[in-house]
C-alpha cells in the first residue's frame, strides 16, 4: 500500500498529465502488457519479413539451423539480407562486415536517443535490453516513454514490446527456412529482398533532405554497380549521406534568408 501511495504521489507530481500516466502503465505488469498490446499489429508484418529472411538464407546455401540461428543471434533483418546477398555474390567477409556496420548504424542512433530515457536502469538490465534494440522497440519506446514513469515500468514496457516481436521474427524465419527448399526458383522470391528494403525505406522519408539522400544514393549505386567487391555500395552510402547533409544545410540557410 505504501509503495502504491508514493507511486501515486510521484504521478501527481508529474502535473496535469498525471492521470494519463497512471492509466497508461501504472504497474510493471500493466506496462509489460501495454507493450505487448502496442506491438501486436506490427508482429503480423514481421512474420513475412522473417519468412523472407529464412527463405533467403536457405537459397544462399545455409541449412535450417544456420538460417534460424542467423535471425536469432543477429536479430537485424536488413543486414542479414544484405549479408546473404553479398555472400552469394562472393564478397569477402570484410566487405560483408562493413556493409553490416552501415546497415546497422541506425541502432547507434537509437542507442543515443534511448539512453537519456533509461536513467537509473541498472547495468544488468541494460545488457539484457541490448539485443532487442531494433526499429520497432525503439519507435514504440520513444513514442510512449513520456507517459511511463519509473525505470522499472519503462524496462517492463520495453520487454513487453520486444518479446512478442522477437518471437514472431524468429517464428517467421522458421517458417521461411522450413519452406525454403520447397519453393521453386521460377517464383523469383529473391525479389522480395529489395521489396523489403523499399518497404522499410519509403515510409520513413519525411522531408526533402531525406529524399535527396535516397535519390542520390540510389543513382550512385546504379552507376557504380561494376565496381569490384561491392565497394560501390559503400561509396554510394557515403555520397548519399553527404548529399542529405548538404541539402539540410541549404534548406536551413534558405529558411534564414526568408526569415
Amino acid at each position: 500500500m505504501a509503495t502504491h501511495r508514493t507511486q501515486r504521489q510521484a504521478v501527481r507530481a508529474e502535473g496535469q498529465r498525471g492521470e494519463e500516466v497512471q492509466e497508461y502503465a501504472p504497474t510493471r505488469r500493466k506496462a509489460f502488457l501495454r507493450g505487448a498490446l502496442d506491438i501486436l499489429p506490427m508482429t503480423l508484418g514481421v512474420l513475412p519479413f522473417g519468412a523472407v529472411a529464412g527463405l533467403a538464407a536457405i537459397s544462399s546455401g545455409l541449412n535450417f539451423v544456420e538460417a534460424v540461428s542467423l535471425s536469432a543471434i543477429v536479430n537485424a533483418g536488413a543486414s542479414q539480407l544484405a549479408a546473404l546477398q553479398l555472400a552469394t555474390s562472393g564478397a569477402p567477409i570484410a566487405i560483408i562486415l562493413i556493409t553490416t556496420f552501415f546497415v546497422n548504424l541506425r541502432f547507434l542512433m537509437y542507442s543515443v536517443a534511448l539512453t537519456p530515457q533509461l536513467k537509473g536502469v541498472p547495468q544488468g538490465w541494460r545488457v539484457a535490453m541490448i539485443h532487442f534494440v531494433v526499429d520497432q522497440t525503439f519507435a514504440l519506446a520513444t513514442l510512449n516513454y513520456p507517459r511511463i514513469t519509473g525505470w522499472q515500468r519503462r524496462v517492463a514496457y520495453f520487454f513487453g514490446v520486444a518479446i512478442p516481436l522477437f518471437t514472431s521474427w524468429v517464428g517467421g524465419t522458421i517458417i521461411g527456412a522450413g519452406f525454403g527448399t520447397a519453393v521453386p526458383t521460377g517464383w523469383s522470391l529473391e525479389f522480395a529482398i529489395p521489396l523489403v528494403f523499399l518497404a522499410l525505406l519509403v515510409p520513413t522519408i519525411a522531408d526533402r533532405p531525406a529524399l535527396i539522400a535516397t535519390v542520390v544514393a540510389g543513382i550512385s549505386a546504379v552507376l557504380t554497380i561494376k565496381m569490384p567487391l561491392q565497394t560501390g555500395l559503400m561509396a554510394s552510402a557515403l555520397i548519399g549521406i553527404a548529399a542529405g547533409m548538404l541539402a539540410e544545410r541549404r534548406l536551413w540557410s534558405e529558411g534564414e534568408r526568408q526569415a
Binding site: L105, L114, Q123, P194, L195, F197, L198, A199, A210, I225
Partner: protein
C-alpha cells in the same frame, strides 16, 4: 558462398551488439560531435536504396533492364508509400512481378 557462416554470424552479432549497446552501457562517458549525429540521421536513407536498386536493375553486376522487375519495383514503392508496411508491399510487389512476367511471356509467344 565462400565465407564461414558461423564466423560470419558471430562477427555480425558482435558488431551489431556494439552499435546497439555502446551508448546504453557507457552512458555519459562518450559524446559525439554534432555533425556526426546529423550524419547518422541519413544513414538509412543512403544505405537502403543503395542495397535495393542494384538488386532491381542488375544481375551479377551487369545492367539488365527487366520490365517485370521495374514494374514490380514501382508497384512496391507505391504500396510502401500508401500502406507504410512490409506485408502489403511484398504482396503487391511480388504480385506485380508475377502478373507482368506472365503477361509479357504470353504476349511474346
Amino acid at each position: 558462398m565462400t565465407v564461414n557462416i558461423w564466423l560470419l554470424i558471430f562477427l555480425m552479432m558482435l558488431l551489431t551488439a556494439t552499435l546497439r549497446g555502446s551508448f546504453l552501457l557507457l552512458e555519459g562517458r562518450i559524446t559525439f560531435p554534432l555533425w556526426l549525429r546529423r550524419a547518422l540521421r541519413y544513414v538509412p536513407y543512403a544505405v537502403l536504396p543503395a542495397l535495393a536498386l542494384p538488386a532491381i536493375i542488375s544481375v551479377e553486376g551487369s545492367y539488365v533492364l527487366d520490365a517485370p522487375k521495374l514494374i514490380a519495383a514501382v508497384v512496391g514503392v507505391l504500396a510502401a508509400w500508401r500502406t507504410r508496411s512490409v506485408l502489403p508491399t511484398l504482396v503487391f510487389g511480388m504480385g506485380a512481378l508475377w502478373l507482368s512476367s506472365w503477361l509479357l511471356s504470353s504476349l511474346g509467344s
